[in-house]
Amino acid sequence: MATIKLNTPFDKKDIQNLKVGDTVYISGKMFTARDECHLKMLELHKEGKDIPFKPEDMALFHCGPVVQKKNDEWRIVSAGPTTSIRMEIFEDEFLKTFKCRMIIGKGGMADRTLKALEEVGAVYVHYTGGAGALAAMAIKKVEDVYWLDELGIPEAAWILDVCEFGPLTVTIDAHGNSLYNELGKEIQKNLEKIHREIEK
């Protein structure tokens, strides 16, 4: 398990070299997208309309931040990850459409996303849930925000400039390996043992 620093836009090879368990810090650009923002971007794409930023050059962050406007400038106050599995229903289509190389979230994702990550050459990295104040320290600037009026603060696409954002733990790599699948088997075994203890 290595500690690796990466810059956006990510090099496909760097992403493919990442292994489950590696710790990553990233610098550069990311955009936030939760449920509504995923739907919005997919809808625009279907209508043949352009996305006003370049998702392929950024990390995708499952996050709905706390923000504050001071002197006409947005500031991120707290910005930890939201539960990623909610996005499982459309994340495969989203990845194939927008070619993001890194998803940052919490709690992991399932097989549809795992297959899409492999196809696109992307990884899923886990950021510590609830570590919103720590995340805000690594966010240097709000570059822009899209669909704020339409989607509201938590669901809008916030374009963030970050410096050594992390620690991010690779939990699904670009080759179909998932910490969650391996761990799931172990937990199942432990659970059977716990059941036996209860029945004693």
């Binding site: 707290s78 539960t83 609830g130 570590a131 733990t169 937990i187 432990n190 203890e197």
Partner: protein, 286 residues
């Protein structure tokens, strides 16, 4: 003294809860850091670092600042009783802008978000009227990720305590990393469907490490804590020894035909604070 003083202290209590994790929770997390390795240790380290940053900068420790949930023990002769609900609502509105909090109240039918964390039935207040002239308000900002993992089982009474253990263990292990473990689990047993869930959540007000006063319930809490931590789910569900920081149980007598078990799950950010108000309106965050 005036309503404004009470309101000021309530805003301060919300700030305290959102930015300063209680010491009992921090100690439990520090213990977890000592025993964890690999990715689990990275998670707990980030949590502890985050707690420090939040305390130092005054930024809410988690971007999900929760639904503001209040438990009130109020004397029947407390002079501000009639105005207290309005004072609390105003404090929540003010805190939303001053701390700030994320706008977290959404109309389920229209999607409208008033932006100030109030709405129908919110802030959510549980009233306990007692004898006397004073008032104690406990605050529990409750995040959505862990709230989504709450559960109710109207268990067949014949399954007994073994059935209870199995339901709790299976449910919490099944939650995996979703409620942001290591969590604190509150279990309400008995009463009816609503009361069991209510007791489960109320038990989260108890400090981590403090046991139920009845020895056999205390023993059950410890047994469940040990069993769940044998699962290996670990901090944030990346695998490890600490899945839960504590398990709390509260109970009510049940109907002979029912055995309700309500599980309330609280993320590692087990945010709490308390305000005490005297009869002359002097309020203090304790």
């Amino acid at each position: 003294m005036s309503n404004k003083d009470i309101e000021d202290q309530l805003v301060e209590a919300i700030r305290r809860a959102e930015t300063q994790l209680p010491n009992d929770v921090v100690s439990a997390l520090e213990k977890a850091y000592e025993v964890e390795e690999g990715p689990a240790r990275v998670q707990v380290e980030a949590i502890l670092e985050n707690i420090k940053v939040s305390r130092e900068t005054g930024a809410p420790m988690c971007q999900d600042t929760g639904i503001q949930t209040f438990y009130i023990e109020v004397g029947a002769d407390f002079p501000y009783l009639g105005e207290l609900k309005d004072i609390i609502t105003n404090a929540v509105k003010r805190a939303s802008g001053e701390i700030p909090l994320r706008p977290n109240t959404v109309n389920p039918f229209t999607g409208e978000n008033p932006g100030n964390n109030v709405g129908n039935y919110v802030p959510y207040i549980t009233w306990d009227i007692v004898k006397g002239e004073e008032c104690t308000i406990h605050l529990l900002p409750k995040g959505g990720g862990s709230e989504n993992m709450c559960a109710l089982n109207m268990m067949a009474p014949g399954k007994g305590i073994k059935g209870l253990k199995r339901f709790v263990v299976d449910h919490i292990v099944g939650c995996g990393g979703k409620p942001c473990p290591p969590t604190v689990v509150g279990i309400g047993v008995g009463g009816g469907a609503d009361l069991s869930l209510k007791l489960g959540k109320k038990s989260l007000l108890r400090d981590v490490g403090v046991r139920h006063p009845e020895p056999h319930i205390a023993e059950l809490e410890e047994e469940l804590l040990k069993l769940i931590n044998e699962s290996g789910v670990g901090p944030m569900g990346v695998g490890g020894k600490t899945t839960v920081l504590d398990v709390h149980i509260e109970y009510a007598h049940r109907h002979p035909a029912s055995f309700p078990i309500g599980i309330a799950v609280q993320c590692w950010a087990d945010r709490r604070s308390t305000v005490r108000i005297t009869k002359d309106g002097r309020a203090e965050v304790i």
